[in-house]
Point group: C2
Chain length 453, copies 2
């Protein structure tokens, strides 16, 4: 880092070239992340075309975008033309239309056609994710011929790990691991190796479908076809991995009561970050206002027995916590497919029992707390036993209620086509707070009427 700074100040390009000669693209990428714009341009000027492209491709899209402005357009042109179509599409989708047009002009006519056709599919569709660089062979070819064909034509393929077999109209017949070709006798016709059993993705499907299929099938690449089974491209596992990670990040952020950031936390400008955080916080705040309304109904009770107010945070938070637990478990189980909508009845039965038992545990602890304090101080007055019972029973009620709400809300959201992760811990807590107060004061009114109330 310091070395680059110094070489840049001396404008010593040859020195920088020598210094970076043996760096791997992954090391260069780390260097780029830590550099400023001038240093970045200098580093890219100092490395050969192939490493420049490999380094660029391993950076994240936001950094790639900012490099487009920093690098000389000749270099941008070389890099863009070298990039694999799927990674390029991911980049082109991110930039604004004017720059997009400028960049598309830098592409060779062939690459431009590919880019445009890839950009023609709806956003988040499998069509955007696929690459047209694959090897397609015919079933009457021999293994020997296929190996020769790959040697001649495989140069730009995204992967040679899986080979595709198509008929004369380009319809997909089968896919086959290159391992099978490598293990077969050279004179074997491909026909003998195929079993016609393959899984293809549809070009218009959502990319989430691809994630699901990859997780299930344990393949490094999958073919993409249109409605008439014509092979259009392939999707490789590295792109899906990245996508799956982004989706998980969105889920986790939603669980924390934030809108999905869609950008790394550190790189996000503060105003944009706040726009992602404020709406949910405001919605939750407005929801939570109902607690004030609920409590004003019970103002008289509180006035007569201020001691009741002392336990409010304890009780509402217990409902919220048990609800968060249940919601988190169910949301993740839904995401992994361990729980489906039709399991709702089994889930609710389990969760009612869980809520009752967990509530009972907390209720006993709560009662003991009141009893212990009452033994050594006079804080709860002569009716401490009734207060303890009120707290105990309320905790059973609130925990059960929180658990049931927390487990059912994700299922209900999913049932109506919404994202279950929206029922985040804060959301459940807010929902349970209002009802928790009503449960608390109703039980208190019943048990304490005639004594404290």
């Amino acid at each position: 880092m310091e070395e680059i700074k110094e070489l840049l100040q001396q404008d010593n390009l040859a020195g920088c070239k020598a210094y970076l000669e043996n760096w791997l693209p992954s090391e260069l990428a780390e260097l780029i992340v830590e550099s400023d714009d001038a240093e970045r341009a200098f580093v890219f000027k100092s490395i050969d075309r192939e490493r420049a492209f490999e380094t660029f491709e391993s950076l994240d899209v936001n950094l790639q975008k900012s490099l487009l402005d920093v690098l000389p357009s000749r270099q941008v042109q070389l890099i863009l033309n070298d990039m694999s179509p799927d990674d390029r599409t991911a980049l082109l989708e991110e930039i604004d239309p004017e720059l997009l047009n400028r960049l598309l002009k830098l592409l060779t006519p062939k690459e431009r056609a590919i880019a445009l056709s890839l950009l023609g599919y709806p956003e988040n569709s499998i069509g955007r994710l696929m690459t047209p660089d694959y090897i397609a062979i015919r079933k009457h070819w021999s293994v020997r011929y296929v190996l020769d064909y790959i040697r001649e034509n495989g140069e730009n393929s995204e992967t040679l790990n899986i080979i595709y077999i198509v008929d004369e109209r380009g319809h997909l017949i089968d896919d086959i691991k290159v391992a099978e070709i490598l293990l077969a006798d050279l004179n074997t016709p491909i026909e003998k190796l195929i079993d016609g059993k393959y899984t293809a993705l549809s070009v218009t499907d959502d990319e989430e479908v691809a994630i699901g299929v990859f997780k299930k099938l344990n393949r490094v690449a999958l073919p993409v076809v249109n409605s008439s089974q014509t092979l259009l491209g392939i999707i490789t596992i590295d792109d899906v991995l990245q996508l799956a990670e982004e989706e998980t990040t969105e889920d986790i952020q939603k669980l924390g009561g934030v809108e999905a950031l869609e950008e790394p936390y550190m790189e996000m400008p503060l105003p944009k970050l706040l726009r992602k955080r404020a709406p949910w916080l405001i919605i939750l705040f407005i929801g939570e206002m109902f607690t004030a309304s609920a409590m004003s109904f019970f103002e008289n009770e509180i006035e007569r027995a201020v001691v009741l107010a002392l336990f409010i945070p304890l009780i509402v938070s217990s409902g919220g916590n048990s609800g968060s637990q249940a919601a988190t478990l169910i949301i993740r189980a839904l995401a992994l497919g361990e729980v489906t909508l039709k399991d709702w009845w089994r889930v609710i039965r389990r969760e009612i029992v869980s809520g009752l038992i967990l509530g009972l545990i907390l209720g006993v602890i709560g009662f003991l707390r009141v009893a212990a304090w009452a033994t050594f101080t006079n804080i709860y007055g002569p009716h401490w036993m009734l207060i303890g019972i009120t707290i105990g029973i309320t905790l059973v009620g609130v925990c059960t209620w929180g658990t049931v709400m927390g487990s059912m809300l994700p299922i209900v959201l999913k049932r109506f086509g919404a994202d279950p992760a929206t029922s985040s811990a804060p959301f459940i807590a807010t929902l349970v707070d209002v009802t928790g107060l009503v449960i608390y004061f109703s039980i208190a009114a019943t048990i304490l009427s005639g004594t404290l109330l």
Copy 2:
């Protein structure tokens, strides 16, 4: 499903064989999941050895374990011997020692040696994850010879997508994509294709290291070496994918305030599920008890101005919510490596500003709420303006405090070697609740003294 039941009742094995003849292993696996033990044994009896093994291997470890009891031991033997060593190790690790010994005896001497050597590495180490089934070649071989060698020896390799080059003592020299071999002229010596730049995993490293390297490097397999660079095995991406998903699930569950389940929700017996949920709920409950203690300090204030009690849930939840947001964002950013420990100063500056702005927004809304109600009702009395100001200022303080705590706690936990995900939404909320109350009543005492208090 119904068909299997019927065939089983008729004990019609031939019928079942015919019925299942064209089923893919993935379809069979789904059938197995939905079947009971008797049906499972019947299905396995009806399918050929290869599909039996493929179906078995695609099931999850818990189901595999239960099948070990259901299937005849001859079939268990065939399946275990066919399994890839890494998947077998994953299974053997799960079962109790007595059954483990029984199963190890079912293995051929060669497979047993492999299993034992794999089981010799510490749990969660890369050694447990690796498979010794790979192709190793020598650098003076020609491409033609390598292709012949693969054809002869590649049958049992876990992957042929990457080929390893070792020296005469078995030390790793390089790894090379099979694509490069396929694209090279048949007479090229391997030497010409290698660049000596490879990334190897250390056999004693934790498996989390493997996840990180795979995410960064975009490879389908990585070599595993010991301290003297001897190639011991390889790790393939499918095993790492599964592992990464399990780690994410654990993170998400911790974020929801539950211990990591380590088993699918639906398959977990209720008592075990409760043992994962109760401890955190109890810890949080005990933590939250301090709210009752904190409030008893302010009992006099509440008695004099019950109206203050009405806003308690609103205020503590706002602190908790802003803390949850910050904690979730930072925990995920830490997990993805977007934020590192040395960024703490940048994070705290951002979060103080964020907390102040978010608090100001909520404070204004809170003030307006009090003002609006005061206009139409007499609920807040003549001093409604002072109450509104108290609420507004408190919200600014509580949100800022919650945001700072939420963002710093994960970093502090990580600094001391703990898992940042432990600072879950419920945990932060509990922590902020107690301090939130102190902030609230201190501000109230300052502003309202002489009027309401």
